[in-house]
């Protein structure tokens, strides 16, 4: 009987990611597409959404921000996690050359996208942003594919000083046709505006607090869309529409701080 219950995955290998998190490589595959996410259950701890970084073997990259992610990144090899999914709509894989812009743990879904693009032999340009050097995650993953991500840090400790979007704006080369972005919402807003201004096709992966993860409870809504089901990937135009809808009804939302998601 096909159901949506959890499957068990033992941890095969844990890779520390600077001081801010870890990449977890599990023993087992879970067919997924870049941009999709899974719900990870740690019995007794809770259940949270994470983007798929690779599907064979299943790989997740987790930033430590609270109790659940602390427990998850402390797992030992052989210990297990419970996973249901994948859920959500993936990034559209369009023909053309692409720029991937990631902030913080947003790097997770873009790493998977980069892998798929490389497999199609259309190497993307990758821009990664973080607060400071020690906060970068998954740079090794890109390098393993032969990609050299452009780095940007708020404090200038590594690469360009400034945000990933500022790094993008400052590119000497012309923009490419396709922009894919994932990261803190403030960054995505800036990216969406830039992309629209440049007339580039652009998709963003949004985040909202998720309960069911399967498009039932309505908890993850953004405007009239459910991020878990209709997203998490939206076109920049659609994202801008959704943010406007949200802001109309909750004027305070526009300047919501989401720093905790941007290690």
């Amino acid at each position: 009987m096909a159901d949506g219950l959890h499957r068990v995955f033992p941890l095969m290998r844990r890779v520390e990611e600077g001081k801010v998190g870890a990449t977890l490589i599990f023993d087992g595959e879970l067919k997924a597409q870049p941009g999709q996410f899974v719900m990870v259950w740690l019995p007794g701890v809770g259940e949270r959404p994470f983007s798929v970084v690779d599907d064979a073997p299943l790989t997740l990259t987790v930033a430590r921000v609270g109790p659940f992610t602390r427990a998850l990144t402390a797992l030992q090899e052989g210990e297990r996690v419970w996973i249901r999914g994948p859920f959500g709509r993936p990034f559209p894989l369009r023909q053309g050359s692409a720029i991937l812009v990631a902030g913080g743990s947003g790097v997770a879904s873009l790493a998977f996208l980069a892998k798929r693009l490389c497999e199609k032999r259309t190497e993307p340009l990758v821009i990664l942003g973080a607060r400071t050097e020690a906060n970068f995650m998954l740079t090794w993953f890109f390098e393993r594919m032969g990609l050299c991500p452009l780095l940007a840090t708020d404090d200038g400790s590594k690469g360009w000083q400034g945000t990933a979007v500022e790094r993008l704006e400052a590119l000497s080369q012309p923009w490419r046709e396709l922009i894919y972005g994932c990261g803190p919402e403030r960054m995505l807003r800036a990216l969406a505006s830039s992309a629209v201004r440049h007339g580039a096709l652009c998709w963003l992966s949004l985040e909202r607090v998720m309960k069911c993860g399967i498009g039932v409870c309505g908890h993850c809504h953004c405007g009239d869309q459910l991020v878990c089901r209709d997203g998490p990937v939206f076109s920049a135009e659609e994202a801008l529409r959704l943010w406007r809808l949200e802001a109309r009804d909750n004027p305070q939302i526009a300047d919501r701080e989401d720093s905790e998601r941007y290690p």
């Binding site: 009987m1 259950w41 498009g215 409870c217 309505g218 908890h219 009239d224």
Partner: protein
Amino acid sequence: MALDVSVDLCGISLRNPLVLASGIWGSCAETLVRVGRAGAGAVTAKSCSLEPRQGHPNPTVLDWGHGLINAIGLSNPGAWEEKRILQRAAVGLKEMGVPLIASVFAETIVSFQRTVEIIAQAEPDLIELNISCPNVEDEFGRPFALDPIMAAKVTAAVREVYKGILSVKLSPNVPDIVQVARAVEKAGADLLTAVNTLGPGMVIDVHAGRPVLSNKVGGISGAALRPIAVRCVYEITQAVSIPVIGMGGVLTGEDAMQMLMAGATAVGIGSALYYYGEAAFMRILGELEELMVQEGYSSIKEFRGCAHG
């Protein structure tokens, strides 16, 4: 000949009998309007209480293979915020002629009254009382819906403070749902909604050796609930003379027709949105219409309740 799928619910005209059930998508104004745009005959907002409620931690909803099991824990932003949500939703829905149903729950009778008074200010077309929540004044904390006397008391108390159209939502988890239905009708309900989720049930993960839901148990909805819900609607409509919104496991036009033949006036759609999103409405309606053509029906009243024979 043209098909007439409209129905009349206590004087409210629905363009079709399919009503969004409470608790699915209905926690924000924009998604309610979206469901109206997608073809629903009416939409029900998520149940709200006087004070905001956080709900249970994850996992809260699961597809266990034959429907859903949920223990959301009735999270909601409280009556005052809900009033704003309803007002915003009403604007978009009114344009399309889609009635809006508000849903209210509380843990005491007085709090039911207070909450309804606030929600009534948003002027929804109908208020539904979700009485499947524990009555904190009962010595065992049993839900109001499990006791005909308590169910009637809540209904009568709300009836006092609310003159609009009032529905009471019944639970299938009683040995005799007819008793509750009759009591609630007598206490002044204008219509009934039947049924809420079944159980509760429990799903144990054998690798974890524990229940999956953080709340351990949760209500069963979707396919597994269907035959129980159809029986409940059949029994209730045989016993009362007020209309019933029948729901529980309606995923296809055939399921909707079962509900209508069992005697329902309108049909609630909840878990179907898990499988089909908001397209559930046009899909189920299309299948229902096709069946009507096949069987030579031109309007819903021609077969409503026909299973009573």
